[in-house]
Structures are given as C-alpha cells and as structure tokens.
Amino acid sequence: MNDSSTDIEKAVLKEYEYGFVTNIEADEAPKGLSEDIIRFISAKKNEPEWMLEWRLKAYNHWLKMEEPNWANVKYPKVNYQEVIYYSAPKQKTKVGSLDEIDPELRATFEKLGISLDEQKRLSGVAVDAVIDSVSIGTTFKAQLAEQGIIFCSMSEAIQEHPDLVRKYLSSVVPVTDNFFSALNSAVFTDGSFCYIPEGVHCPMELSTYFRINAENTGQFERTLIVAEAGSYVSYLEGCTAPMRDENQLHAAVVEIVAMEKAEVKYSTVQNWYPGDKNGNGGIYNFVTKRGICKGDNSKISWTQVETGSAVTWKYPSVILKGDNSVGEFYSVAVTNNYQQADTGTKMMHIGKNTKSRIVSKGISAGHSNNSYRGLVQVSKNAANARNFSQCDSLLLGDKCGAHTFPYIEVKNNTAVVEHEATTSKIGEDQLFYCNQRGIDTETAVALIINGFAKEVMNQLPMEFAVEAQKLLAISLEGSVG
C-alpha cells in the first residue's frame, strides 16, 4: 500500500487551477457593515425606496441574530466588519454589447472556459456572469426575450421589473430565515433573475457564472427563478475564486418558485477555491437555497457537484406544497485536504401525493470532513407522501471523516419513507479485479469513483457533466484508498 500513500500525496499536491487573480480596477465600498454601507450599496445600485427599506429590515433583524454553530464544521469566526460588501469591476458606462466589456475581464472568463461572446451560441447556453458582486454581462438576452423569458441580472430586474421582483423576492426564503440569508438580504449586490412565462419551454440552458476576484470581498448574490404554470427551465450555476491566504465569505441566496405543472432543474458545479493543502485560505460557502412547488404537479430538481470551498454549509431544499409535486436532490460532495462540507437537503411534504428523492454521494480524502445533513418532513395532511433517500459515503485515506445526520419526521400514517446509507472504502478486491484485467490502479480508482457518482452525474446537463467529471478527477486524482 506504499504506492497509495504517494498517490494520495500527489492528489493532495494538485493545485487549484482557477486560482489566478485578474487585475481589474474595482470600485469598492469601504470595509465593514453598517446602515450607511447598506444605503451606499442601495444608492450605488440606484434602487427604489422599498428595496432600501427591505434591506434595512433585514439588517436590523440580522443584528439581533447569532451566527449558528450547529453544523459539523469548525472555522475561525468571520469578522463581519473586515469584509468589503461592495466591489464592482470599474465600468464607465453601461455596456451595450459584450464587445465593450473590459478585455481583462473577458480574458478572465476565457480562462475559466466561460466565453461571453457568441461562441456560446454553438453550445446554446445563455450566460449571466457575476464578478465579485456585480453582473457584467448576460448573453442571448434578445433571443430569450422573444419568448417572453426574462433573464437578466438582479439589479437590472429591480430597475426594469420591480413588480415581479417585489412579488417574489424573499417569498421562499424570508429575510429573517437564518443568519446568512438575513446578511445576504441586507447587502446583496447582484445575482440573476429569471422569469419563464406561462407555458414556455425555455429553449436553452440558462447559466450564471460567479467569480470572486478582489481581495477581502464577500460575495453575496441573490438568484430568483420564477417558473409560471406549465413552463420549464434548466438553470446552471458555476463558481470559482482566486487563491488567497485569507478566507473569503460567500453567502448567497437562491429562491425558486414553480407554479402549476412547471418544472425547474437547477444544477450547480461549485468550485470555489478550497484553500491550500494545509488548510489555509479558501472560501466559506454559506448558502441558502430553497424552492417551492407552489402549484400542483410541479417539480423542482436540485443537482449539485461540490468540490470547492474550505467550508461548505448548504442545504438546497424543496417545499412540496402543491399536490402531486415532486422534489429531487442529487449531490456529489468531494472534500480533500482540510476541506469541510456540511451539506444535504430538506424535503417538506405538505401537499397530497407528493414525492421526493434524495441521492447524496460524499467522497472524503485527506484530512477532510464530509457530512450529509438532511430533513424529510411529512406534515399531517400530506397524504400518500413518498420519499426515498440514499446517502453513500466513500472514504479515501484514514484521516478523513464521513458523517450522516438524517432527520425524518413523519406525521401522516399513509406516508412511506425510506432512508438508507452506507459507508465504505474502495475495496481491495475491486482494485485487484481491475488490475488483473490490465487497468492500472489510478485508472481503476477513477473508474470506481465515477461509478460511485454516476447516478448524480447523469442528472447534470451535458454542458456541465463534462466539467463536473473533470473536476472530480482533479480533486481526487490518484487517491487510492
């Protein structure tokens, strides 16, 4: 097994690929958080009065809240007064076409493999790119508008579609929901807004790419997706950050509303900078994601591939309010070195004949800790609710940990709920079998891990599946258990 330890070291030494810093002049707010900063952000964004009030309400509530500490993660506490809450790439005027965007910025996105220009037409993905705090460009807007689809940055939506924003913003995640959602509500600077009108099947994948660039900044974006009756949308989200020694904070909120017979598929490939091999630096990823199946027969599906971040704290959930609604959660969480992930989902069955499915695959290596924390709740009137949960953990190396905390609360006697979980390592017999057939150990491990995660990977849209598989390989290359 001596080989294996060197292989693990190799994997551990694998550097983060997206750790470059782009030298873009940024327009920043001073450090710290106060009412003035919120007024500053709101004024900067030229927001209407109600928006400012909403933010201040969130801020005042946040002041009364305590940072939660129940998650199975340990990290030095964030000093909220040391964070820069607003940082925007300097732009003289609002850009009309993508050609006018700062070439440095465009080069950044080229490096990330996110081309903002028309090349993307080939793959048919509409992209909204958010750097630090501000959305810098959305592609394919015109084509989408033809069908009545609104896909733009959140700040633009507040200006152009205030009624829709006002109606749905914080309708799924109330500003008072939790510590980080309140903080986000107070200071969020941008994000994506997406509205699919009744009966429209969105013709392309919508995608947002987030990047933290400037030093000491926190990224607080807010995404709101509204799918009207009978509509369909598939939404992708990706993120990266430069390598820095200090920890940076990312506290986003994503809200999804699905009306009758609507379907929303939300996929994330999260690859924030995880810190170096000694656990220095990296992003704190404290995210609130929640969707509501408001109408009957609606469906929300979350798929996530979590490979980055020093500390992840994220539970994409679904409120199954409409009858016959369906919620799904597919997750692969990979932790290496000193990463910590506490992630899972909540499925709240309220309507009749609701169904949910949870498939969570955790892979831990190095000194990392990976936790699944999930809640399946069947309320009293949720007749014939059905849930199936499966959470499997794979341990690579003997210094990492895998934990499962599934909460199951059932108040209806027609519900059928199943949960199963296993923890194992890659079997020596499996490796031997592969070796015996001429497959070298490293390829065999990749093969087995890919097989382990396949159920989730299959759920990803094509554009992301390739990236996700690459990421998985990078994160764990050569980690023989």
Binding site: P406, E409, N412, N413, H419
Partner: protein, 432 residues
C-alpha cells in the same frame, strides 16, 4: 417553590446528612454540572423531539427521605414469571430495599453502592462510576448523580456464570403524592463471567411518577452480559432510563428494550467498545398508544478495531402516540475493520401518530463497513389481502402481521418465561 430551588435545598440537606460518603465529591461535581446544563429543552439537540420540561413543573415529594412502607406482599403484584428461580432486586422510589430483595446465586455479590465505595471494590467504583456523564451531557444525567445517596453494586467474580437471571423491579409508590425516583446501579462483570438482567418499571397509585434511572455496566474480557428492559408502566409514569455499557475487554453484549406504555419514556442506551473484537447487539421494540411518547437514543462508540455491532429497533405507533429514534454510530480513527449496522423500522397505525427518526453515522476510519437504514410505512396491503382472501378476518389478519413485525425483536429474548410474558403483553396490547 420552583424545582431549581427545591433541588438546591434538597441537595444541601443531602450533603449535610451524608457528608462522610465517598460519593460526596462526585455529587458536588454533578450538581454543579446540573446547574450549568439545566433541564434539557427542545433546543438541546439530543432532546429535540422530547419535551420533559413539563415533568419538572410538578411538585415531587422530597427524594432524600423517600421512605416507604412497601411489603413483600405489595411487590407480588409486580413480580415477573420465573421469579422463584431468579434473584430479585427491588427499588422503591429509587432506593434499593434489602428486605424485599432475594439473592439466590451464591456467586453473585450485591452491595449497597455506598458500601462498595468503601471496601475492596472502591477502585472499581471510583474508576467507573459516572462514566455515562462523558457521553450524556445534560442536566438529567447530572441530576441523578447529584442525588446519588445509595444504589446497588453488582459484582460477578472471574469465570463465574450466574445461572439464575437477576430481576430488577423499579417500583414507584405514587399512591399519595407525585414521586421523583432516581435509581442508580453499577454492575461489574469480571473476566469470563456471565450475567443476565431483566428490568421492569411499575408505579402504584394514580399520582404522577418520574423515574430518572442510570445503570452503568462494565464488561471485562470474555464476559457475556445480557440485558432486557420491559417498560409497561402506567400512563402517568414517565422515565428517563440510561443504560451505559462499557466493553473494556473483548466481550459480548445483548440488550433488548421492550416499551409498551408510559407517559414520556426516554431510553439512552450506550455501548462503548473499548477493546478489539467486541460484539454488541441492540434490539428495541416500541408499541405505543394513547398519548404516550417513546424516545430511544442509542450510541455505539467503536473505539478499537474489529468490533461488530448490530442494531435493530422496530416501532408501531397507534392513536396519538409519538415515537423517536436516534441512533448514533461513532467509528474512531483507530477502529479499522469495524462492522456496524443499524436499522429502524416504523409502522404508523393511526393518523394522529407520528415518528421522528434520525439514524446517524460519524465515521473517522476508512476501512469499515457501516450502514444504516430506516423506513416508515404502513401494514403491507398485499399481505393483509392474502390473509383475508383465506378467510381470516381483517382485525386478526392485522394483528397477525403486527405480531410478525414484532417477532424479529421478541425472538431475541432468550429466557422462555420472559418471552412468554412479553408475548402476552404484546397480544394484550393488540386486543386479542
């Protein structure tokens, strides 16, 4: 007077009366822990689904001077079948009563805990007494230790096999007033020893009783400990019952808990595997109706490699009852080659019943096989139809299926007398 002040007074009184006791220092420590933790609320993660705060709003009779006029004849009503061939230990209102107890096995040493703390067993007592508080950090556990004046100490010598089972009766005399009883026991199985314990709880009278019990067990190398707890107390009786087992040598443990009645029943069952190749089986059956609340918390802590544990808890919840299961498996970093299994299956029989379950794994070693599973559902419709199609009335068919569901656990009870007795209780509950 509120409970906190009452406890304070009672504690001062106990410390003054019993100041020479070896246990005095332990009590002092526990009482400050109690003041620090307080009575657990639902904000305490381990008490998320069980509200016991209301139990402390009642006025309880002083637990220090809890004397009773119980006679052997009074105990007869609660005796278990087969008691004539068994050792019987009787607790009344949390205090061990010698004159009501019978020791038949010559190799079985039963002493008052206070006495054992002074003589040749003092080392064992000081080493193991209160170990459960390392695992249960809450005010309830501390409360028992804070008021431990006496209790029992059971010792089985090396290579001695106790053929006759030990029956422990926890009787609460709530005929006249509300009673808070806090029985305590420490059990030590030396190398290669064997012991079987059957424990029951009973309340006399219609006033409320609250039993807060702790049993700590040490199982040495090659020893074998079998334990069965039957909870069929009245609907005005609540209890927090802790069984904390340490496997200090390679040994075998089998623990079965059958819970059929009670107001609020909370069981903490812990097994700490401190030696390689230990084996432990934990089984539980809970079948509740009325407004009763049952909460089973288990911890299996794998400290050393090559251990095996198997856990199966099955529940049937009827009427307005609520069931809670929280199973924890820890696998520490040195505990490679651990095999740990856990399963919790529930049937909801009524629309007002509910179940909260949380099977939890915390694993720090990589070469392990661990799995857990849980299900919540109803009676198998096809099975029911099959039986009915063969002329079996629905009611009988249902109870046949339920008995079948329960038999997985009942089959694990080794003593024929007890097995028959529990079968009878289950049948009674099913209304046959």
């Amino acid at each position: 007077m509120n409970m906190t002040e009452l406890f304070k007074d009672q504690f001062a009184q106990l410390q003054a009366e019993d100041k020479d006791s070896k246990l005095s220092a332990v009590r002092e420590q526990a009482f400050s822990a109690f003041n620090e933790f307080g009575i657990p609320t639902v904000r305490h993660e381990e008490w998320k689904y069980t509200r016991i705060g209301t139990l402390f709003t009642k006025d309880y009779k002083s637990q220090v001077s809890g004397k009773t006029d119980f006679s052997a004849k009074d105990v007869d009503a609660y005796r278990l079948p087969g008691h004539k061939e068994a050792n019987e230990l009787v607790f009344v209102n949390g205090q061990f009563v010698d004159k009501l107890s019978t020791i038949r096995s010559k190799d079985l040493t039963v002493l008052h805990l206070a006495e054992a703390a002074k003589n040749e067993y003092s080392e064992i007592v000081s080493k193991h007494f209160g170990h459960s508080s390392d695992y249960l950090k809450d005010g309830i556990n501390a409360l028992n230790t804070a008021f431990v004046k006496d209790g029992i100490f059971i010792h089985v010598k090396r290579s001695k096999i106790i053929e006759e089972p030990v029956y422990i009766y926890n009787i609460t005399d709530a005929a006249a007033e509300n009673i808070l009883a806090q029985p305590r026991s420490l059990i030590y199985l030396s190398e290669n020893a064997q012991l079987q314990i059957i424990e029951t709880f009973a309340t006399r009278g219609t006033e409320d009783s609250f039993t807060n019990q702790i049993m700590e067990v040490i199982v040495e190398k090659d020893a074998r400990f079998e334990y069965c707890k039957i909870q069929n107390d009245s609907a005005n009786a609540s209890q927090v019952s802790t069984t904390h087992i340490r496997q200090t040598g390679t040994s075998y443990v089998n623990a079965i808990i059958v819970s059929l009645n009670g107001e609020i029943v909370r069981n903490n069952t812990n097994v700490v595997m401190e030696a390689p190749h230990c084996e432990a089986h934990l089984y539980g059956l809970y079948f509740q109706k009325g407004n009763s609340h049952i909460d089973n918390h288990t911890i299996v802590d794998n400290v050393m490699p090559h251990c095996f544990s198997n856990e199966l808890y099955k529940g049937m919840m009827d009427e307005n009852s609520t069931g809670v299961f929280n199973g924890k498996i820890f696998v520490r970093q040195p505990a490679q080659k651990t095999n740990a299994f856990q399963s919790n299956k529930n049937i909801l029989l009524s629309n007002n019943a509910s179940v909260n379950t949380k099977p939890q794994l915390e694993i720090f070693a990589d070469d392990v096989k661990c799995s857990h599973g849980c299900t919540i559902g109803q009676l198998d419709e096809e099975g029911l139809f099959y039986l009915q199609s063969r002329g079996i009335p629905e009611k009988i068919a249902k109870s046949m299926l339920l008995v079948g569901f329960a038999s997985d656990i009942l089959d694990k009870i080794n003593l024929p007398h007890i097995r028959t007795y529990v079968d009878h209780l289950v049948a009674e509950r099913l209304g046959n």
